[in-house]
Amino acid sequence: MQNSINQQGCCAPFGAGRPTGQKGKDKHMTKQTSGVASAGPNRRRDGEPLGANSEIGRKLKQYYDELVSDEVPDRFAQLLSQLEQAEPEQQKD
């Protein structure tokens, strides 16, 4: 899983594709939060923006894992059984 994050050394240069759905607004973000400079010395560069070493990455996983481990209601298995029974003679290879 970490791999998918790390293996982006791919060839597409940033912005090479047409940025569909992106608006000129993006520029606004350039001014960023310079007010946070107080903690400036703290900045670390871990090179993997969503990797295990970033706080955001960790929380994201934690958030998602919690959702994934939620117990699945029976209704979905029942639904699939119904769908299966609805077309029992279907033959595919």
Partner: protein, 182 residues
């Protein structure tokens, strides 16, 4: 018959992931389960169009995502919130720097526009590659990368994480692009 059972089993196995993705998109448990149900029915009907050996999970996520956006359109809701407005509304301040409460994180995630939220979830949590995520979202790989980095910037802003926030989006985009590690 056997193939059909296999397909059913494969579907069952992806349900937890589908529910998590549906929940991340809709932020609502009932809607999420409706989305999953709809996805399973559609997937079943279209199973002959699925190429065995290709990525079933990505295929299902695509169906679910399409269903989500088509439901949103029916509800007449704006797909994209205007950027910036929501963020400004609520700033979450973790009690300790670098130590985020999961609840705070959840709230912050809710504030992201859908396109950014889904991108960061697909890449950072669901385990898809940028290429797969682009396929699922029907957009260019570069678009996914830019959404992920904007989502990340936004989350850092909302959560008031300093540190990397000092880098402008270009620097972060460059990182996302996979500059050398270490």
């Amino acid at each position: 018959m056997a193939a059909s059972l296999g397909f059913k089993g494969d579907l069952l196995a992806t349900i937890p992931g589908l529910r998590a993705f549906a929940m991340s998109l809709s932020q609502n448990a009932d809607r999420a389960d409706d989305l999953v149900q709809e996805t399973l029915v559609k997937a079943w009907d279209k199973q002959s169009s699925f190429q065995p050996g290709t990525n079933l999970k990505a295929w299902l996520f695509t169906i679910l995502r399409n269903e989500f956006y088509s439901q949103m359109r029916k509800r007449g809701r704006e797909v994209q919130d205007s950027e910036g407005l929501l963020t400004a509304r609520l700033a979450v301040h973790p009690s300790q720097h670098g130590r985020l409460d999961l609840d705070d994180f959840r709230k912050a995630l809710e504030q992201l526009p859908e396109d950014q939220r889904e991108a960061i979830i697909l890449i950072g949590a669901s385990g898809f590659s940028y290429e797969e995520a682009a396929e699922i979202c029907g957009c260019a790989v570069g678009t996914i990368k830019s959404r992920v980095s904007r989502a990340r910037n936004r989350l850092q802003e909302i959560l008031d994480i300093s540190g990397e926030a000092d880098y402008g989006p270009d620097a972060i985009a460059a990182q996302v692009m996979g500059s050398t590690v270490g």
